[in-house]
Amino acid sequence: MALKTPEQYEESLRKLAFKVYLMGERVENPVDHPIIRPSMNSVKMTYALAQDPRHEDLMTATSHLTGKKINRFCHIHQNTEDLVKKVKMQRLMGQKTGACFQRCVGMDAINAVDSVTFEMDKKLGTRYRERFLKFLRMMQEEDLTVDGAMTDPKGDRSLPPSKQADPDLYTRVVEKKKDGIIVRGAKAHQTGAINSHWILVMPTSTMTKEDADYALSFVAPADAEGIFYIYGRQSCDTRKLEAGQIDVGNKEFGGHEALMVFDNLFVPWENVFMCGEYEFSGALVERFAGYHRQSYGGCKVGVGDVLIGAAALAADYNGVSKASHIRDKLIEMMHLNETLYACGIACSAEGHPTASGNYLIDLLLANVCKQNVTRLPYEIARLAEDIAGGLMVTMASEQDLRHPEIGKVVEKYFKGVASVPTEHRCRILRLIENITLGTAAVGYRTESMHGAGSPQAQRIMISRQGNLDYKKKLAKEIAGIKD
């Protein structure tokens, strides 16, 4: 089975024995929990679109290991075309869900681990790549969703891992046994963890010799004994517990993050891809971050497409779509959104092969892409709120709209253009609210800021890769300066 149906994916999740806590309670059935289920629906869409002839060209690829058709989320990029198609697939997914669809982190993790284990084995004589390829075959064959887990809680940022007051604030190996290792610590902000079959853990930053125990990469079943999750709250999340459809903004889809805790997790050696090789931790972090910064040039653009469409509809329903300033604001939103897309495509088109044969994006352009993502969605969201008007946050509830007596009043006074039902206006304004300050704002705003690394992380990379000395040399030549 190289491609799972969406139904098979959902059933496969039901078989997992996740240990999840949400708002102080253990969740026995995450798949059907009203707060979690929309995020599962988003991942499920990655399976549905792969089955759809209208989208399979983007959603599927040919495995370089088996020659079989696989979901692109399980693929190792073989050329720049694969890198470009990845971004286009992510835009499509953002358009179809209006939310974070979570499966990118695993794809970005396998691509980073592929080249780094190859280089590590070549230099150090380790046998990690063989193990990784065995896992990759299984991932592709069973069409698994894998959570790429990088960010540690980090405690006091001024101190390295081994100097923290609590050593578990960075994920580490606490014991090496004959048959495997014992891991303790946690991973924060784990996108889609509870919708994943496996987790792929990577070090959170470049490690030194003193912190070699924290230079750790491995895979584990997401429901393994020794892993539990504490589900992250989102703005307006309890609206999902209400019976209606309108006030949630996006009834069907969403995203999620969770704290993933390793409570003396046992990992057999065959699932370990790095254990103490600190000199390769930096390359793994840099490549995963690079791929993930590329990803944002696709997924956020897709959600941006939905938001721009919603803002344009709000203008139509308000009767202002012909006003020149409204048209100009919509043009500006599209310009900003396509700027993000241009960066995603550019870093992909300028990709290059690594020694393992897989393709890596242009890291400088990927960092420029993500740096723009930390800014432009905020402006797009601001313009959407501007066009939508204040009603998007002062509107009455769906219960009021449906009320046998005051419903008529809501219908009358929340009406815009006469030909458009009031309910349509309510729905589109709630969707804008959802993306700009509701549950989906976690993905569209704050994740744009901090996901795949906070703005300063990209600025460090841009500084390192910007080739400033060469630019000085160019200026000297033009100015006639001879040293």
Binding site: E119, E350, G351, H352, T354, A355, D362, N467, Y470
Partner: protein
């Protein structure tokens, strides 16, 4: 046995490409000086690209030589090499290829 040098266009080089070629010329024995003459087919080609993208690495260029050594920024044949050590690594590869041909 001719060794040829082919440069990329040089839009945003991360290494000093002409400087690297000069160092290679210095390190190679006298009768092995590389050429940039495109009219003959080379036995060994050194593709000198300023960044890892190596946009000059394409089939039409690859046909110019039987064996290639690919430089892309601070990498030689896709492996990271410090810029100061690149010429030595490349010359070693050229001499190994020549020896293999003679043997």
């Amino acid at each position: 046995m001719v060794t040829g040098i082919k440069y990329c266009g040089g839009c945003n080089p991360l290494i000093d490409r002409p400087g690297l070629v000069k160092k290679i010329e210095k390190l190679l024995p006298g009768n092995c000086s590389p050429v940039e003459d495109l009219s003959t087919k080379w036995e060994i080609g050194v593709l000198v690209c300023g960044c890892p993208i190596a946009c000059a690495d394409r089939p039409s260029i690859r046909r110019m030589a039987r064996h290639w050594i690919r430089v892309g920024g601070a990498t030689v044949d896709l492996e990271s090499v410090h810029e100061d050590e690149m010429a030595g690594v490349i010359v070693k590869k050229i001499l190994e290829l020549k020896k293999r041909k003679i043997d």
